[in-house]
């Protein structure tokens, strides 16, 4: 190793899981010119579940990847890299660089016991990296996202307006969460504990997901996991920064969230009145807005917005249950608004984000973006890739489309995000 940083992005579009694993590792590692990788990030769409399974995908990777290379990864809705934009396949990012110490951590049962999972994972990293002489510290965390419940007799639904049925379902949430580990991803609860243990790390977070929020997997070295956090911690002499943007704009619809569940995951009342009907009143739509068939296509365009310092954070709603609105992230009582999204604004957000780095020459980048942005933009996502190519040019970058995002900087604090695009860029 001659002190030079080498990084490579891999891609495979093969359908067979084992062959795809082998190819993604080969294409990523070939750019390292025989140097040993410091770490290997692996992201796949859900399709390999049916074409050999994720263990076979990992087996294929390990046929090629040098033994002992720290590996984390998981399933995502899609990805974008130096090769193109994809909603099917597998990709990887790997780096070799002498001035870097790396550790990986894992914590299981994130939906049942998020605090413990976060602690376990952070402690593994803290212990392994404690003696590092490098002071710049970065953490990439991947946590199993919210998985939509299959309700007995109801199936998978986003809108249930019957109050009696909604009450039954809400009371069943705890059972589902604790026993089946189906339901809310609890990422913020996990990450709060990670940050408590590793407060001097900059964090970039992605929630692993599939294309329908039904199931997802995490990868940790040779293992395939569910309902887990996996994380990569690194210390280095490289410069880096993490940042985020979402491009959503505040509308004139402002209100007060007045009653939420103790864990902050369900809104019961808005302006002191039942939440779902009040939301309809505020945005001026009839009951048809909650049409089950159209709900998933509509809800990303009307997320709630809450203020945190100088930032507005989007909070998407996951379901409408009677008069209650379960969310995919925590919310507190207080002032809120409806945010408005458009394709143009989503693309502008990428420009805004890249603008943070326009003075530097990047070595490589890891970008996390909400799956909803990919689903909304469709083939328009190439416009986002072009913006990223302007920054990275021929340097490796990897964007994963996730079920939730997050950024933590010791100076600015922790931001759990939805519908955002978040970036960690490294330079010398």
């Amino acid at each position: 190793m001659n002190g030079e940083l080498k990084a490579g992005v891999g891609l495979s579009r093969k359908w067979d899981a084992r062959e795809a694993g082998r190819e993604v590792a080969e294409t990523a590692l070939e750019k390292l010119d025989g140097e040993k990788p410091k770490f290997f990030l692996l992201f796949s769409t859900i399709h390999y579940e049916k074409y050999g399974g994720f263990q076979e995908l990992l087996n294929g990777v390990w046929e090629v990847l040098p033994e002992g290379t720290p590996l984390i990864g998981g399933t995502v809705a899609g990805f974008m890299n130096n090769y193109g934009c994809f909603a099917r396949g597998v990709t990887a990012l790997t780096v070799s660089y002498p001035n870097m110490d790396v550790a990986v951590g894992v914590g299981e049962n994130t939906k049942r016991n998020p605090s413990k999972a976060g602690n376990d994972c952070a402690k593994m990293i803290k212990d392994k990296i404690a003696t590092s002489s490098y002071h710049r510290k970065f953490l990439l965390s991947l946590i199993s996202a919210t998985e939509i419940l299959e309700l007995p007799g109801v199936g998978r639904k986003s809108v249930i307006r019957s109050k009696a049925m909604a009450r039954t379902i809400i009371s069943g949430f705890k059972l589902s969460q604790n026993v089946l580990q189906k339901g809310a991803g609890m990422e913020e609860f996990v990450l709060e504990n990670v940050i408590k243990e590793l407060p001097d790390f900059h964090l970039l977070h992605a929630s692993t997901c599939d294309d329908k929020f039904l199931t997802n997997y995490q990868f940790f070295n040779e293992r395939v996991l569910k309902n887990s956090i996996v994380a990569l911690g690194l210390t280095t002499d490289l410069n880096f920064d993490v940042n985020f943007a979402h491009g959503l704009k505040e509308s004139d619809v402002k209100f007060r969230i007045t009653d939420v569940s103790p864990d902050g995951q369900i809104i019961y009342k808005i302006n002191g009145k039942p939440a779902a009907s009040t939301l309809l009143e505020l945005i001026g739509y009839s009951e048809d807005f909650f049409d089950e068939k159209l709900f998933v296509k509509r809800f990303p365009y009307f997320p709630f917005g809450i203020k945190k310092g100088e930032y507005i954070l989007p909070r998407s709603f996951a379901m409408i249950l009677g008069e209650s609105i379960p969310l995919m992230a925590k919310i507190e009582t207080g002032e809120a608004c409806i945010l408005l999204a458009s394709g143009e604004k989503l693309i502008e957000a990428a420009k805004e984000l890249v603008g943070h780095f326009d003075e530097i020459t990047p070595l490589f980048g890891i970008i996390v973006s909400c799956a909803i942005r990919l689903m909304t933009l469709g083939n328009g996502v190439h416009a986002v890739r072009n913006i990223l190519l302007d920054l990275y040019k021929d340097r490796p970058f990897l964007t994963v489309y996730s079920g939730g995002e997050g950024v933590y900087c010791p100076q600015k604090g922790f931001f759990y995000l939805q519908e955002s695009i978040d970036m960690a860029t490294f330079w010398r």
């Binding site: 359908w15 193109g84 329908k212 689903m375 909304t376 469709g378």
Partner: protein, 130 residues
Amino acid sequence: MSSDDPILEVLEDLLKLDDIYACMVARKNMVSVIPDTSKFNPKIMDVWDIVSLAMKSVFAVIEEYASVGLDVMEFRLKNHSVLFFIIPETDNALVAIIPSLANKGLIEVEMENARRRIVEILKKEEMARA
């Protein structure tokens, strides 16, 4: 284009996606490349006749506007959506029939990749002929 065209491989790849019920490369009054129809999702069979008819009308539009940059067209009929990704500089389109509530954004990403592969294949064929 003939039935042993490498484009067939591109279409068969697309057809493996759960929400792509049927796909082909076609132009007005002519299917250029089509995978084995037994691989199509049986759910389209009861709408096939009416969808085929509607497609003919759309191809009339494609034929007229392809030369001025028409890029993508879509129509919805009986719980299905039909996507047309026009192959540049031709009046051919990559066509896919999907459920109307499918995640169209993700399908579009893969349709675009398929279209780009088809364009590359056509360019190679043209160069080989030249």
